[in-house]
């Protein structure tokens, strides 16, 4: 392998560092109309009357839309495939506002200032309703968040708006209650995970214009341009052949940009005025009025023998989807489907629960996507079991975890909102990950020496967890590519895959280069333009390397065969006697040959009736979703006087198959780990009793800074996934999953207290220690 498993520098890295205009706001027309959104100050209210007369007359105002002026088509902003596994429960604008920050009116004006002034002139008469702000009291609450009649789901998912239920799900293998009853030991615990904000540094941004074909063009910071085109068509009731969606460079996404944000507002304004418009969210809008990770309550029971052999796992989840149901079902299901298969040898397993509406900012896709929530519960409970049985947690994992060549029934039962896809695990180096990670962090010495005093009141502890994710959604997600041969023998690679800063343009170029045996420089990439690039579902569900990567590999192999068959014709030799080595097309004995440089020129300019354009297109849909795996370890130092703790080391050993680009894979891991550490110990979306978000800016919502980075050590296991492109699996999400459980386990190891609700703060640790002393 020459071009893959190689740290090629990211192809757009230098251009971006040098500040080339590449992001949505950089590309917007300098005279674009400014689009702003008037947002609800109430957590739940009905608009009795809204008067925009004064605002419309304000000089500089172009137009204003309220719920009376926009098409009333119900849709979901989730940005998923079709049919969508999220309830259709959203209108562009509605007579109800369901959370603080929900959209009331769209204001288009010549400048920001004019728009701001105009918004103040809009008169709204509210009927303020009793909000539902405690998700544990949402079900059957007398306040019904979606009283309207239009919402529906595209397939059964237990949706019942009258009870504030977005969806329910239940599955089991064997009789869990029975097996638990007969288990020698049972752990029965409840964990809580909080809402987390994505905080991509670029806020949600979109711009629109009408081109000379009179089509609506939308440039937007999105993960899913093709889904977006479909959803905009659906919401506006307009044929999608009139819409083009272009994804420029995206300033970070992490799931937050899978959903729709300002695109529809720009579309409405541009369609009405015929002029370019742009909608750039403020940071406050991103916090309050986009999406956050679904907060969850997870009840888990694990039954085991005294030897440590697991017998049954029962996981019951309550999830808060906020005001709208984007990703309600799928995130919640992944809390089970991407955690429970880790322990595949149990006699019985049950997963089920409910996702409820509340008057919070909606939940949405966020890196980890339920797996991080499920992992915190499962891997904390496993630690509690190890402690109860007095078994080393490392040994408990080894005894019970999934191994290469095995399967889990859950793969077949649980899929993307419906049934899943059975698969045998062909690559799983969890045993190596645990072994290597424990060497790196010196587990054996440190685990036994728990509560080790270092200085004064400080004690150290160590913890671990294992995790899995997936690689795309099998039999559903598709990635396609086309390759065009140009004179001088270089290629255009057109891909629908959406690079979010992840480096997918680079690794997909590497895959094409590898298949064609040409240098990466000879692959010129253009991605994510709904008019020009082949279909791709978009960047989510850890799909790009595996799904789009396989699509690119197939396409490049097709191109190689095309070069050989057409080259043979030119050389007048038999195809079976022709080889292409990346530079030269030749007969096996080398007697007849021509360089790609020369023939590519001839095919375009000089071969008369034999002139032709070589173009290859192919696509790929996964038959399986091979999980990447990892083992995470952390060492913490806790101050027993104050509860303050430092994470001294974080060690991660990862099996993501063969890395296509080790440095970029490392970047995914390091970035994912720090976001996971953020969720574990810093970040918390908080509301007051009126449902107003308290953490709606970067001063109150702290993401880790450079000074918060512990000593992080990441290594990759030597692994090869047969179904992956050149052995690769996904790496985008797996890194975020372990920190919450690992750090909770390490703190337990240090001071003997167990934090069961995230984030783990010094105050919680201190209170727990005090409580323990009193006991």
């Amino acid at each position: 392998m020459k071009q893959v498993n190689k740290s090629v520098p990211k192809i757009d890295g230098m251009g971006l560092a040098k500040g080339k205009p590449a992001f949505t706001d950089d590309l917007a027309d300098s005279n674009a109309i400014i689009v702003k959104v008037l947002r609800s100050p109430h957590a739940f209210a009905r608009i009795k009357n809204i008067n925009v007369d004064k605002a419309t007359k304000y000089p500089g105002v172009e137009c204003i839309f309220t719920h009376k002026d926009v098409p009333r088509n119900v849709f979901t902003r989730a940005g998923q495939g079709y049919p969508e596994p999220s309830p259709k429960d959203k209108f562009i604008l509605d007579e109800y506002v369901r959370y603080v920050g929900d959209e009331l009116a769209i204001v288009a004006a010549s400048t920001d200032e004019v728009a701001e002034q105009a918004m103040k002139l809009i008169e709204v008469d509210y009927e303020v309703l009793e909000p539902v702000l405690d998700f544990e009291k949402a079900e059957n609450n007398k306040s019904v968040i979606h009283p309207e009649k239009e919402p529906y789901t595209m397939f059964p998912m237990g949706f019942d708006a009258s009870k504030n239920i977005a969806c329910t799900y239940d599955m089991h293998v064997g009789d869990v209650d029975e097996v638990l009853k007969n288990s020698e030991v049972v752990i029965d615990k409840t964990y809580y995970t909080q809402a987390q904000a994505h905080v991509a540094i670029e806020t949600h941004s979109s711009t629109a214009y009408i081109d000379h074909y009179e089509r609506l063009n939308i440039i937007t910071s999105t993960q899913t341009p093709v889904h977006l085109r479909r959803i905009i068509g659906e919401a506006l009731g307009m044929p999608i052949n009139k819409i083009r969606v272009v994804k420029p460079r995206v300033g970070g996404a992490f799931g937050g940009k899978q959903q729709i944000h300002g695109e529809l507002f720009c579309a409405l304004v541009t369609l009405k005025t015929g002029r370019p418009s742009k909608c750039i969210y403020s940071r406050k809008e991103v916090f309050e009025s986009s999406f956050s990770r679904h907060a969850m309550r997870l009840n888990i029971k694990i039954g085991a023998e005294k030897s440590g052999k697991l017998k049954a796992i029962d996981l019951r989840v309550l999830s808060d989807t906020g005001a709208y149901g984007e990703h309600a079902l799928t995130v919640f299901m992944i809390a089970g489907s991407k955690t429970l298969p880790l322990y595949n040898k149990v006699d019985a397993v049950h997963f089920g629960g409910t996702v409820v509406y509340t008057n919070h900012t909606p939940g949405g896709a966020y890196r980890g996507y339920g797996a991080i929530q499920g992992n915190f519960a499962l891997e904390s409970a496993m630690d509690e079991l190890a402690n109860k049985l007095n078994i080393d947690p490392l040994e408990l994992r080894k005894m019970n975890m999934i191994k290469e060549g095995e399967t889990s029934e859950i793969f077949k039962i649980m899929g993307e909102g419906g049934e899943g896809t059975a698969q045998i695990i062909e690559s799983c180096k969890l045993d190596y990950c645990l072994k290597r990670g424990s060497e790196m962090i010196k587990w054996n010495n440190k685990y036994q020496n728990k509560n080790k005093k270092v200085i004064d009141d400080k004690v150290r502890g160590i913890g671990l967890a294992i995790a899995m994710q997936g690689s795309g959604i099998p039999n559903m997600d598709m990635g396609a590519a086309s390759l065009k041969l140009n004179d001088d023998g270089f290629f255009n690679l057109l891909i629908g895959a959406t690079d979010l800063g992840t480096g997918s343009d680079t690794i997909l170029a590497q895959i094409a280069a590898e298949a064609l045996n040409v240098p990466v420089e000879d692959i010129v990439v253009y991605s994510s333009d709904s008019d020009l690039t082949p279909f791709d579902c978009g960047a989510y569900a850890s799909s790009t390397t595996f799904v789009s990567g396989n699509g690119v590999k197939k396409t490049a192999e097709k191109m190689k065969n095309l070069i050989i068959s057409e080259g043979a014709k030119h050389l007048k030799i038999d195809v079976s006697d022709t080889i292409f080595d990346g530079k030269i097309i030749k007969s096996k004995d080398g007697e007849n040959s021509i360089s790609l440089k020369e023939i590519s020129k001839g095919w375009l300019y000089n071969y008369g009736q034999a002139q032709k354009q070589l173009l290859a297109v192919d696509s790929y849909v996964g038959k399986k979703s091979p999980p990447p795996y990892m083992a995470g370890f952390a060492e913490v130092e806790v101050d027993t006087k104050t509860g303050h703790f430092d994470i001294l080391n974080y060690t991660a050993v990862v099996d993501c198959g063969t890395t296509i680009n080790p440095k970029l894979a490392l970047g995914q891991m390091e970035g994912g780990l720090l976001q996971g550490i953020g969720m574990a110990v810093y970040e918390d979306v908080k509301y007051n009793k009126y449902g107003q978000m308290l953490t709606n800016n970067l001063m109150n919502y702290k993401i880790p800074t450079r000074e918060d980075v512990p000593n992080i050590n990441v290594e990759f296991a030597d692994s090869y996934e047969p179904s992956g492109p050149y052995g690769a699996k996904s790496v985008g999400e797996i890194g975020i999953d372990t920190p919450p459980a690992v750090i909770a386990n390490a703190i337990f190891n240090a001071v003997g207290v167990r934090i069961t609700d995230l984030p783990i703060t010094p105050e919680k640790v201190l209170l727990a220690m005090k409580k323990k002393q009193i006991k």
Binding site: K10, V250, L698, V709
Partner: protein, 150 residues
């Protein structure tokens, strides 16, 4: 109102509103490398150099820049390339949104600190948030850059 200032070594007289922030003015005047990341002066994406010192242009009144010299990434391409080579090689440019502000801060750190330790580096740059990389690649790159520059 009109102000006189230098942007990327060019003398300019530009029309501004008295309440306009420097960030908006720079972007309107073609410096699109200067990014807007927050409303509270917390992210560092809007960093520019004012008389060689980093400032947050989102919370700096354009009117106050009268008579001063502003450098953005557009005006320091060569130096930016030297530093960024290390960032790119270490995989430290993911989405790239935070990078122009970061690189300008590194330029000023180089002038201010002699032989900084890793701790001093992360402290100096701590106002430049990055949500993609986890920062470790930045630290490796900047250390290497400073090392090889010697």
């Amino acid at each position: 109102m009109k102000i006189k200032l230098k942007i990327n070594n060019q003398d300019k007289i530009i029309d501004i509103r008295p309440d306009e922030m420097l960030l908006e003015v720079l972007r309107k005047n073609g410096c699109l490398s200067v990014k807007h990341g927050c409303d509270t002066g917390s992210c560092g994406a809007c960093t520019v150099l004012l008389d060689e010192k980093p400032i947050l242009s989102c919370s700096y009144l354009a009117a106050k820049a009268e008579g001063h010299s502003i450098i953005t990434v557009e005006g320091a391409q060569k130096k930016v390339e030297q530093i960024s080579k290390y960032l790119v090689d270490e995989g430290g440019v993911q989405c790239g949104f935070c990078i122009p502000g970061l690189v300008l801060t590194v330029m000023s750190m180089e002038k201010e600190l002699n032989n900084p330790s890793e701790e001093e580096i992360t402290h100096y740059l701590s106002g430049n948030l990055c949500r993609c990389t986890g920062y470790s690649s930045h630290t490796r790159a900047i250390k290497k850059y400073l090392e090889e520059k010697k």
